[in-house]
Structure formats: structure tokens, C-alpha cells
């Protein structure tokens, strides 16, 4: 559990660091930009037998995301809980391997962007086009796959080593 939490913290900090290092804006969305925290939630899902603990980590992450990165109120908590519901349903249908975990990550990242887009649109906060949403989703694919694959392999190795010991 501690390893999973450390991994979530690293991913959370990475969101801030990458946003600061790699220049990007709405005119030209970056290929390096994805939501690393969401990917970490997908990766650690299967390492938690006690889903209550997982849910509490997810809610804390949502609160931190709201306060530190987006300055919103409960928006990210709601989006993260929706991701949890989708993840728990997907877990029954799809077995866990390197390909399916990537599919889950892509679904969750897409869900995050689509939900925040819809909420902000309904709340009359912005008026960006669906085409832009589509471009952002497409461009985040590469980094989502890279980060998910690397994270999955590393986390698997660490947990396998722990089991051997």
C-alpha cells in the first residue's frame, strides 16, 4: 500500500512539474501532456483488496487536485469517483494485462477530459469547441500509453519482488 501511495504522490507532483516545463496551450496542445494522477489511479486499482482504502486515496487526490491545480470545489472529486465507478465495472469485464491496462488508462483519461469539458460547459465557464476536446484526447494518447506501460512494468516488478521475499 505504501508503494502505491508513493507512486500516486510522484504522479501528482509530475502533473505540476510537466505542466511547468513543457510549453503548451490551447492553440497547440502538447503530445507530452496527460493527467498522470488519473493514470496512477488506474495502475494502483488492482493492488488494493480493500476498496475503501482505495476510495479514500482517490478522494484525497481529488481534493488536492481541486485545491492545488484547478482551484475548483469538489469538481475533481466527482470526476475521480466517476472514474472509480467505471474502473470497478471494467474490472469485471476486462482481465488485467499490459494491453488492457493501457485501454483502461485511455478510457479513464478520455473520461476525465470529457467530464470536465461537459461540466465547465454546462456551468458556462468556457466555450471551447468539441473539435479541441477531440484534439486534446488524441494528443494525450501517446504519453498515456508510455506512462501506463512504464508504470505497470515497474509496479509489477516491485510487487513481484515483494511476493518472492
Amino acid at each position: 500500500m505504501i508503494i502505491a501511495i508513493i507512486y500516486v504522490i510522484i504522479s501528482f507532483l509530475l502533473d505540476g512539474i510537466i505542466s511547468n516545463i513543457i510549453p503548451f496551450n490551447l492553440v497547440d496542445p502538447s503530445f507530452f501532456k496527460t493527467i498522470y494522477s488519473v493514470i496512477s489511479l488506474v495502475i494502483i486499482y488492482n493492488y488494493f483488496d480493500n476498496k475503501k482504502k482505495y476510495l479514500s486515496i482517490l478522494i484525497i487526490l481529488g481534493i488536492l487536485f481541486d485545491i492545488i491545480y484547478t482551484n475548483t470545489f469538489i469538481l475533481n472529486i466527482i470526476v475521480f469517483i466517476t472514474i472509480y465507478i467505471i474502473l470497478s465495472n471494467l474490472d469485471y469485464v476486462i482481465p488485467n494485462n499490459i494491453i488492457t491496462i493501457n485501454i483502461k488508462s485511455i478510457i479513464c483519461i478520455s473520461l476525465y477530459h470529457i467530464l470536465t469539458y461537459i461540466i465547465l460547459l454546462l456551468a458556462n465557464y468556457n466555450s471551447y469547441s468539441i473539435k479541441l476536446l477531440f484534439i486534446i484526447l488524441l494528443r494525450s494518447l501517446i504519453m498515456t500509453i508510455i506512462y501506463t506501460t512504464i508504470s505497470y512494468l515497474i509496479m509489477n516488478k516491485i510487487y513481484d519482488n515483494k511476493k518472492v521475499k
Binding site: S19, N20, I21, P23, L64, T70, N71, T72, I78
Partner: protein, 284 residues
């Protein structure tokens, strides 16, 4: 069966009511630029301090790369600037004289919203626009350094945005490139000796232009004219450069001009900014 249907109906109604309440909360908190409470401020200050330490080596490496790129261009820049150096002494003398005249005129006309009445507080960008849609940056100066909501943020090129919330050691800045319709700024376009006033209507993210409205079709504006803050409205002091006129069209009734303004500041690459603090506030 009937009871079941009624139960399902009730659940559906509850879900719809819940969604409406949540949307109302979002609508309110997003529009009002919610201020963080003390507990949230403490969390934000703590996490951003950790983030600052962690990102320091990455920033250092990327800054060195930028420095190296600049060094390669330095000879060309030196050659370009050489003729200007000879003019510096005369320009400085002229500048001192103009400042004196400006101060006298400001006193006579009782004007206190020009950029001269402000101090610059330098800040570093800690994080920005994590989820694309928000168009904000977080800087490493907060209420402890005297930063307040609505203070204006600039960089070496021009206007960047304004402070929308502060904690003790950080502040969130809403960028000029937001499509938020509540964020209208009064601007002035300098056309020779004439000044034309308009309002920033929207940011067009597709072409990276700001759209300025409110200028009569009878007025003359040329491509390349400079666009500044006008000082009207009370938030932004006058004279801060925003951009240059790049395209001029008219509205659907052919009565007013719609002017596309090309931004001077590079919003892709904001690392350091300055917050404008009123000199009077310091004295208090």
C-alpha cells in the same frame, strides 16, 4: 411491480436534483473565482513548497538549455544593439525630463492609474494549466508578499493577466487568454496622436488572437497599431502593452469594427512574471 416503478422514478428524480445542485455549485464557484479557506491555503502552501523543491533540478536543466540557446544568438543581438548604445545617454536624459513632465501633469490632472504609480514584485511560475481548460498559472508570491486579488500581472513583453486568488505564499493568476466572458478589459489603440477605446470581447484560441469590439466603423485603425490597457475600469493601469492589430473586420451590421489583436507575450513560455503593486498601498 408498481412499487418498483415508483421507487425507480424517485431515484431518477433524486439523481436529476443532485446533478442540478452540483451544477449550480460549480457555476457559482467557477464564476466567483473561489477564495481558499485557511485549511485549503495551508495545504496549497505546503504542497507547492514540496513541488518547488522537487521541480528545482528540472527547471535548472531547462533554464540552462534556454541560456545556451540564447548564447548562440548573442553575437547577432549585439550587432543589432550596437547603434542603439550610442543613443542611450540622450534617451536617458529625455526619459528623466519626460518623467518630470508626466509627474507634474499627473498631479495637475489628479490621475493615479498610470503604470508609474506601481512597484514591480517579481515572481516565478510554479505550475500552470494542468487540465487545459482553466487557463491559470500559480506563482510563488502570496499575501505574505503583499499580493492581493485583482492585482495585475505582466512579464517583459506585456500584460499576462490578473490575480484571482491568493494563499500565504502562492497566488493564482487568470491569464488573458481565457475565453471567460466575464473577464472584459478596456483597451486603447494608438493610431498616431489619436487614441481609440474598445473592449476585449473574447480570446480566439484557434488563431491565438484577442477580439476587440466597441470601435466605430468610421474611426481609422491600421494593421500594426499598438493595443494597450486604457486604465478605464479601475483594475488594469493604463499603458500596459497587450499586442498589435493584425486584422480588421466589421460586425454583422457594418456599424462597428472587430479588431483581431496579436498578443505580444508568449503564453506558451511564461516562467517569470511581475506583479504590479500600487505604491500607495506600501505606504499604508
Amino acid at each position: 411491480m408498481k412499487k418498483r416503478n415508483i421507487k425507480t422514478k424517485h431515484i431518477l428524480i433524486m439523481i436529476i436534483i443532485l446533478i442540478i445542485i452540483i451544477l449550480a455549485i460549480f457555476s457559482f464557484t467557477l464564476k466567483e473565482d473561489r477564495q481558499l479557506n485557511k485549511f485549503e491555503s495551508l495545504i496549497k502552501d505546503t504542497v507547492t513548497s514540496i513541488q518547488k523543491v522537487v521541480s528545482y533540478p528540472f527547471n535548472w536543466i531547462f533554464n540552462k538549455i534556454d541560456d545556451y540557446k540564447e548564447l548562440t544568438d548573442i553575437r547577432e543581438k549585439y550587432q543589432e544593439l550596437l547603434p542603439e548604445v550610442d543613443r542611450i545617454d540622450s534617451l536617458m536624459t529625455e526619459n528623466i525630463e519626460l518623467r518630470k513632465q508626466l509627474e507634474t501633469m499627473k498631479e495637475e490632472l489628479d490621475i493615479d492609474y498610470t503604470i508609474n504609480g506601481y512597484d514591480f514584485l517579481n515572481a516565478t511560475v510554479i505550475s500552470r494549466n494542468v487540465s487545459y481548460w482553466y487557463n491559470t498559472i500559480t506563482i510563488d508570491k502570496g499575501s505574505y508578499n503583499g499580493v492581493e486579488v485583482d492585482m495585475v500581472v505582466v512579464n517583459s513583453d506585456g500584460l499576462i493577466g490578473k490575480v484571482v486568488s491568493t494563499t500565504t505564499f502562492t497566488s493564482d493568476v487568470k491569464l488573458l487568454t481565457t475565453s471567460d466572458t466575464n473577464n472584459k478589459i478596456s483597451v486603447a489603440i494608438s493610431n498616431g496622436n489619436k487614441k481609440l477605446y474598445g473592449l476585449i470581447k473574447d480570446y480566439n484560441y484557434k488563431s491565438n488572437y484577442l477580439e476587440v469590439e466597441g470601435i466605430s466603423n468610421t474611426e481609422s485603425v491600421s494593421v500594426g497599431d499598438h493595443v494597450y490597457t486604457s486604465g478605464l475600469g479601475g483594475v488594469f493601469p493604463s499603458g500596459i502593452l497587450i499586442g498589435k492589430v493584425s486584422e480588421i473586420t466589421t460586425d454583422e451590421y457594418d456599424l462597428a469594427k472587430i479588431i483581431n489583436v496579436e498578443l505580444v507575450a508568449d503564453f506558451n513560455n511564461i516562467n517569470y512574471v511581475a506583479i504590479l503593486k500600487r505604491k500607495e498601498l506600501d505606504k499604508k
